[in-house]
């Protein structure tokens, strides 16, 4: 059998097993990656070179920073403070909690956002004696949407930023304003699906929520000060990182090291909280894609896409956006984005396209696609599991009934946005 067929089989088998989630996804991609090396499609040197350490470094740096900052209680404080603005109005509560989830997830990873926000929402809903389901689903959707706004918000953006040399500010200028609009629209949309729940009386027990003392959520004020200073320095450097000639990973790792230095926290503790399994998942995928690229499959796919879209930039952008969103409603958006990066590079090499609209289409499709079904994103599964532990079962159908229309609407709006901003 020739190498191209072997590579194709390994690649497709890996993708299928990652989607099925029967075996740990990291183990699957490491098997795939090692097969590429053992079968001599790639040698070890080529495999190691294929790993994008800018992506790995940025993820590691952010994981260390978040592991320290979340200990301060800042995020709980913000969530309680903001939910108090609702003053007994259930829609305002839905609105404020969705917006804070979206904003937090633009700087934190989506799963961390969900783990922090959902328990607070459960406490609020139980005290108000209302159903938490619409609020929690809205928070999950908001975390997937909010993550799209920045370079550090969602792994596909980290991958795209690194591959396309797009800076932190490029994401803020090109995606954040549009994402903010989507975030504001989201609660109105969710309300349509939960008419009965949204008519519950939240004002009856609102006094209980007024008694929540957000100041008590701050566990370590000194650590909070140190964390905030380090975090703002990091974000400031992120804003200027391209002008300073610094890669994103350098900025994130410097921020993490600064925070470790000033907080005096033992790195052994913070490093334990780094999701090593996720990092090895990325590394395995980078190797697999390098193997697939080496045997020419990526080039073949790129040519197919170019032929299909007849070298028309608007059409190519729309095809990438919609294929990404529909694919990432079912398959993992990290493996999808890592696979698409070399395809888009190839399209750029063959045509004379300005690739930026295509990169934004990939980001919007891969991140927003996560709302389509509950298997599409880790944040969805984590959120639904927390609800399950409280005895509230959300089925695949329950989730998709709301999530899929929200995903489709967000992609229609993305199409309009991309067309009028970049392609018109």
């Amino acid at each position: 059998m020739n190498q191209t067929i072997i590579a194709f089989i390994i690649f497709i088998t890996t993708l299928i097993f990652v989607s099925l989630e029967k075996i740990n996804r990291t183990v699957i991609v490491l098997c795939g990656a090692l097969l590429f090396i053992l079968l001599k499609i790639l040698n070890q040197h080529e495999a190691f070179l294929a790993i994008d350490f800018n992506t790995i470094g940025l993820l590691t740096g952010m994981m260390v920073m978040v592991s320290i900052i979340k200990k301060t209680g800042l995020f709980q404080y913000l969530a309680i403070k903001i939910s108090k603005f609702a003053k007994g109005n259930i829609f305002y509560l839905l609105f404020s909690l969705s917006i804070i989830s979206g904003i937090l997830s633009s700087i934190l990873d989506n799963v961390t956002t969900i783990i922090l926000i959902i328990p607070i929402t459960l406490a609020i809903c139980e005290n108000l004696e209302i159903s938490p389901v619409p609020l929690i689903l809205s928070e999950i959707f908001a975390s997937n949407i909010g993550g799209t706004a920045t370079l550090i918000g969602d792994p596909p953006n980290i991958i795209i930023g690194s591959a396309a040399h797009l800076s932190f500010m490029d994401f803020i200028i090109n995606l954040a304003p549009f994402i903010l609009v989507l975030l504001i629209l989201l609660p109105f949309f969710v309300r349509l699906f939960f008419k009965k729940e949204m008519s519950q009386n939240a004002s009856k027990n609102w006094k209980r929520i007024e008694k929540f003392d957000e100041n008590k959520a701050i566990e370590d004020p000194l650590l909070l000060k140190k964390s905030l200073i380090s975090f703002f320095i990091t974000i400031t450097v992120f804003i200027f990182h391209h002008n300073l000639g610094l890669e994103a990973a350098t900025v994130a790792l410097s921020g993490a090291t600064l925070l470790l230095l000033v907080s005096g926290i033992d790195p052994a503790d913070s490093l334990l909280e780094v999701e090593w399994s996720t990092l090895f998942f990325f590394m395995g995928l980078f190797i697999i894609i390098a193997g697939v690229e080496k045997v020419g499959i990526i080039q073949w796919l790129s040519i197919k896409i170019i032929n299909l879209t007849k070298e028309n930039l608007p059409l190519t952008t729309m095809v990438i956006l919609w294929i990404s969103a529909l694919s990432c409603s079912f398959i993992n958006n990290i493996s999808y984005t890592i696979s698409m990066v070399p395809i888009i590079h190839n399209i750029g090499a063959v045509t004379s396209f300005n690739l930026n609209p295509i990169w934004w289409a990939l980001s919007l499709g891969a991140c927003l696609g996560g709302n389509g079904t509950f298997i599409a994103a880790a944040a969805n599964l984590v959120g639904i599991n927390i609800l399950k532990r409280q005895g509230k079962i959300i089925t695949f159908r329950d989730f998709s009934r709301v999530g899929f229309p929200i995903m489709i609407t967000s992609i229609i709006l993305s199409s309009v946005y991309l067309y009028f901003r970049y392609l018109w």
């Binding site: 209680g73 709980q76 607070i120 139980e126 209980r208 532990r389």
Partner: protein
Amino acid sequence: MKIKEVMIPDLTSVSENTTIKETLKILHLQRLFGLPVVNNEQNVIGIISESDIIKACLPGYYKELQNPSFLPDFNQFSKQAKKIAHLPVKEFMIRKVYTIEENTSRTEAANLLFRKHLRILPVVREGKLVGVLTPSSLGKHAMD
């Protein structure tokens, strides 16, 4: 020296259908941390401890919160406690229970208590309850 010489030959236990309220009363009277749960043949089928009961009295979201100290007291604890008072032990007991045969050595028992962080260890003869072992009973005996 074997465990049967060190154990507390106390057969206080509850059945899986004993209510939580009754169990708590026994725990309080006997000043115990936990009680073995036995079936009609006196076979140990679980263990119920004070901390299992306290955990069951807390609202579900407490366990998920990073730090619940911002929540004021809304009597949710007693509300939940009243709710579970008349439920049977079987709903809250730990089914994966460690037991020790009466002829086991003290070192092995100490090792089990230490490694599994147990505060009470039912002692059995062919699966049937004959007593309990606690870290203090074992330690006290060793020092005497």
